[in-house]
Structure formats: C-alpha cells, structure tokens
Amino acid sequence: MLLTVENLKVKYGNIQALQGISFNVDKGEIVTLIGANGAGKTTTLHSICRLPPPEAPKVVEGDIKFKGESILSTEPHTLVSVHNIALVPEGRHIFGNLTVKENLTLATYARKDTEGIKRQLKHVFELFPRLKERENQRSESLSGGEQQMLAVGRALMTGCDFLLLDEPSMGLSPLLKYELFRTLKRLNQEGMTILLIEQNASLALHLAHRGYVLDTGEMAAEGTSEELINDPEVKRAYLGG
C-alpha cells in the first residue's frame, strides 16, 4: 500500500469534520473520493498534506501512513520534497503575481536535477500546449481553465509520483474537462498514482479503478468503479439518476 488512512478523525475547532474514515491507495492506482458538498473530501486531502496553520484541520485520532510510515508529524513541505506527494488544491491557488513559467519553475524548488527539470517542463508543455503559449504572462490574468492547467502542470513539476487532485474539473469547459481526464489517464499509464476528488461522480468513476463514497464525514461505500456505478444507492444519490 502506498497510502493508508486509518480511522481518521479531524476537527476544525469544535466542528468534527471527519468521524473516523479509513481508506487506502495502492501504487499505480487511480482512486476517487466522491461525496456531497461538505462531506469532508477536501478536509481529507488537507489532512494528508498537513497544510500549515491556520488553514490546517486538526487530526484528533487515527493515522496516515505513506509507504508504511506515519506522515502525521512531517513538515508539509517535506511531503513534496521527500515523499514526492503533490496536491492540486481546490480553487487552484496559483501564484497570480508570477508568470506561468515562474509558477512552473517554483515548483521545482526542492529539486536539484537540472536535466530532470528540463525534461519535466517539456513534458508539461506537451500535455498543455496552451501553457507554452502563455509562458510569460502573469498567471492571474489566465482564464479559469488555463489556471487549472497551470495548477496541474505545477504539481507535475514537483516531480511527484503520487498526485492528489481536488475538483480539478471545476469551471472547465466540457472539452477541456474531457481532455484533462484523458491527461490524467495518460499520466496514470506512465506510472503516476492518483487520488482524485470530483463532483462529477460518473466521470470520476469512469476514470478510476476504485472509489470511496464519503457522506458527512463517514465512509458510506467503497468498491471498484464498476461496483459503485452499479450500486443503486450510489446511483441515486451521486450519479444524478
């Protein structure tokens, strides 16, 4: 198991956002986490990534293990630089005052392999040719979709082999959404492990190998994508039919 989450309980102040959830992700998998708004999906990712205060959710119980080691007390930046985990956060959070190129370069902060960085950059520009066109533009003036590409591209630049995505398709045109999902598939085929959060559950399940359904802080269902797609409960509540 690459990532194991065991009985995770998380609080924001007095609000209990996660009531003890467990799940795991294996190397080379695409796993998706679906659930209604406010179910605690983002909270789960933020707990894994140990975001700095004051945004940080507080883990009160349970454990998060990466490659069998607890990562609960590691510093957030070492997750990226040592463990090669990258997060594409909800709402993109690109650095609007930097150019596209600078955003991408910055993500290689902890990397020393100049050659690898070059190759990675080429790869990202291949995946998102639009970014190449806008290379020297201040990134805050990019359109929503372009920003989303930048956020994904930036995560890739860290040289990660485990990618966490939080609603990457939000605000994307259908065309781009499909393109993005195809890109994710391709990345996975190239060896990337992916944990995906997505509102569009059917799309997500079509892409993923396995899925988990989160409901108000508790794990409501889990299984392979097929099992979930065919589960009548899930169908009714999350697949809009």
Binding site: N37, G145, S173, R182
Partner: protein, 255 residues
C-alpha cells in the same frame, strides 16, 4: 423591444482582445445561455454588462437606456443584478444583512435619517427587513437568516448569492456558472430553483454555464462564443449539433 442589447461591443485588456465586435440581444422573460471555451470572454461580457468594465468600443443598452458612463451601482439600479463565478458574499455579515444591503440603491433615506432615527428611517428599515424576510421565505432560506455565509454549505451559499441578486429586484439576472462545484443532487435543486424563479419573478435570466445538462435543460436560447466572437446561437438542440460548437467547446466525451 429587447431587454438587453449589446451592439458591436469590443473589449481589450492591453493588447488582448477579450471581446470582439459582439452583438447579442436578450429578449425579456426567458432564460438564455452563454457558453464558450475557457477564456472565451464570457465573464468579461458579464462584467461589461454589469458596468464593472467599460467597453473599449460599442454600446450596451439595458431596457432602452445606454449604460455608457454609468457606475456599476447605477447599472444595478437600472435593474441588472448578477452572481459571481467564485462566490462573493459578504462573509462576515448575516444572510439577512447580505440581502438587506443589496437594496442600497432604494433605501430612500439619508445619513441624517440614519443617525437621528427619523420616522422615515424607521419605516424604510422595517420595510426593507420585511422584504428581505419575504424573499428568504420564498427561497426557503429563512432558517439561515442569522447565519454567516462562511458557515453555510457551498450549495446554500450559491443559493444565498442568487437570493441577494434577486433582492435588487432586477429585470435582468446574470448568473455566472451557478452550478460550478455543485454535486449532482445540488445541480438538480439548482435547475428547479432557476425554473421557479423564472416563473415567479418578473425577471429575465442569462447564465454562463459549463454543465451542459443545466444549460440544455433551462435555456430556451443559447449563444456560444469563442475568442470574444459569436460562433453559434440558437436553441439547445441546434447548439448541441452544431459542428463548430462541438469542435470548439463540447469536445469528445470518450475518455
């Protein structure tokens, strides 16, 4: 007569032409759609219509009046209200206050009334509050009247934002991606809400949306733009099958 008429409008950001020679007219009483690729200039069009930007060239005519030179709040007073792509509620004020403040253009009393608590002030304040409660009641948000938006679920925040826009008493309501970030069941609720508003309020709705189910379900007429220019317009059926729209926007859903 059209409620909104956009006449050969162009808008530039520095060298970038975000909207170019655009002509659109919106007929009263309908729900219309605006779709287009990311960065096509949709939000920019809404920003221009709501007076936040002034067009580099061309005119915008709302209900027979040219909005050139008007400030956004003046355009709002003409009857144009909107929601935002990213929710922009006043997060640290109650839902009720959010609703009341957006009646600022028709408060009908002055600073001195407020400080002296004149009769006029008392009367208008209670009217405003009553109207706000009525609106919240109608949208079944009344339970949240004294909640702070930041503590509400995302879907409810979207709804509050729509309620806030309605409290302006608009003739034209612009919705910028109302379904973004909503899950499937919330999307259904949203569709019903918009339908209900369109049936029960004297308001024309124009929405930007990337969720095709929503657009196809709600809109009777859709405009698709790319690079700030109209590439297609028509009924949902026409749009869905328009090859230009497919290649520039809808894409291929085979993953």
């Amino acid at each position: 007569m059209s409620l909104l008429e956009i006449k050969s409008m162009t808008h530039r950001f520095g060298g970038l032409k975000a909207v170019s020679e655009l002509n659109i007219s919106i007929e009263p009483g309908r729900v219309e759609g605006l779709i287009g690729h990311n960065g096509a200039g949709k939000t920019t069009v809404f920003n221009l219509v709501s007076g936040f930007y002034t067009p580099t060239e061309g005119n915008i005519i709302v209900d027979g009046q040219d909005t050139g030179g008007l400030k956004p709040h003046q355009v709002t007073a003409l009857g144009v209200a909107r929601t935002f792509q990213n929710i922009r509620l006043w997060k640290d004020m109650t839902v009720l206050d959010n609703i009341r403040i957006s009646q600022h253009h028709r408060l009908g009393y002055s600073f001195f009334d407020a400080v002296m608590r004149t009769k006029r002030y008392m009367k208008r304040e209670s009217e405003i509050t009553a109207e706000a409660y009525k609106l919240l009641e109608e949208l079944s948000l009344v339970d949240f009247a004294n909640e702070y938006p930041k503590n509400l679920p995302y879907g409810t925040q979207r709804k509050v934002e729509i309620a806030r826009a309605l409290s302006v008493k608009p003739k034209l309501l612009l919705l910028d991606e109302p379904a973004a970030g909503l899950n499937s069941s919330d999307v259904v609720t949203l569709i019903n809400l918009v339908k209900w508003i369109s049936d029960n309020f004297p308001v024309t709705i124009w929405m930007i949306e990337h969720h095709m189910d929503v657009v196809m379900e709600l809109c009777s007429h859709i405009v698709c733009i790319d690079f700030g220019e109209t590439i297609a317009e028509g009924t949902p059926e026409e749009i869905r099958n328009n090859p230009a729209v497919i290649s520039a926007y809808l894409g291929d859903d085979n993953i």
